[in-house]
Symmetry: C2
Subunit: 152 residues, 2 copies
Amino acid sequence: MSKKLLSGCLVLALGAGYALTAFSQAKPEVLVKQRQSAMTLQLKYFLPLALMAQGKVPYDASVVTRNAAYLEVLTKMAWDGFVEGTKGEKTRALPAVYADPAKFKQAQDQLHAAVGALGAAAKGGNEAAVKAAVGDVNRACGGCHDNFRAKQ
Amino acid sequence: MSKKLLSGCLVLALGAGYALTAFSQAKPEVLVKQRQSAMTLQLKYFLPLALMAQGKVPYDASVVTRNAAYLEVLTKMAWDGFVEGTKGEKTRALPAVYADPAKFKQAQDQLHAAVGALGAAAKGGNEAAVKAAVGDVNRACGGCHDNFRAKQ
């Protein structure tokens, strides 16, 4: 690939805290921005399902199927941003994230399982099963939000 | 689902600009945050591929496969956030986004096509084909970044 590449997406990145030779060593503020972006999108696609489950908006099977599939992918994206080097950043992540990584990982795993079950329920097409699965995902969200995140 | 739901993800959202009864009417600043989050994650997963294509970091087929799959999903997420109601927000989106929606849509479609081709190349496992596809994605990024986004 030619140097023309640098005129596209990449040139932006080079000024934004990304290291060229060691991408995995992205700056702490970048890691925080990335993990918060994942959470923002998890909420974007989960909230309509939660509102459907509560009867606040009409049930829409096509939105359920799409959002559940998106959530299965998005749920994989935040975790590598929780590294010790980000402890100094202004975020709501509590020290427990780094002090009790096994429990933090367990909470992640529970969310993965719940989101996977939601995806399966969405494919199954049973509205009651979907709504129950949405509740389980919500509780799994709480597994981190209750124990690893400051309330405000 | 019980009201217990409100103790989880959702209670956060209710204070963050989301309308309960008309979710599609999320506040402009929320739509901007969501679309910027998608772009942040697109960059997170595209940059390593661009660096590989340039030979700046070692080629890693497993990262290529994973990131290409993520990008196929992420590329679907930003567009519904570009609505007229967000024109007053402080972003780098140019008026052309709303003045020339057909051209903006065409640029989106080109990115979808390029990212789809990257996904296919990643599955094919041919390193040269992947690197060429990465270049095509980068050019497709430019289709919006050159015409629909302020330089700084």
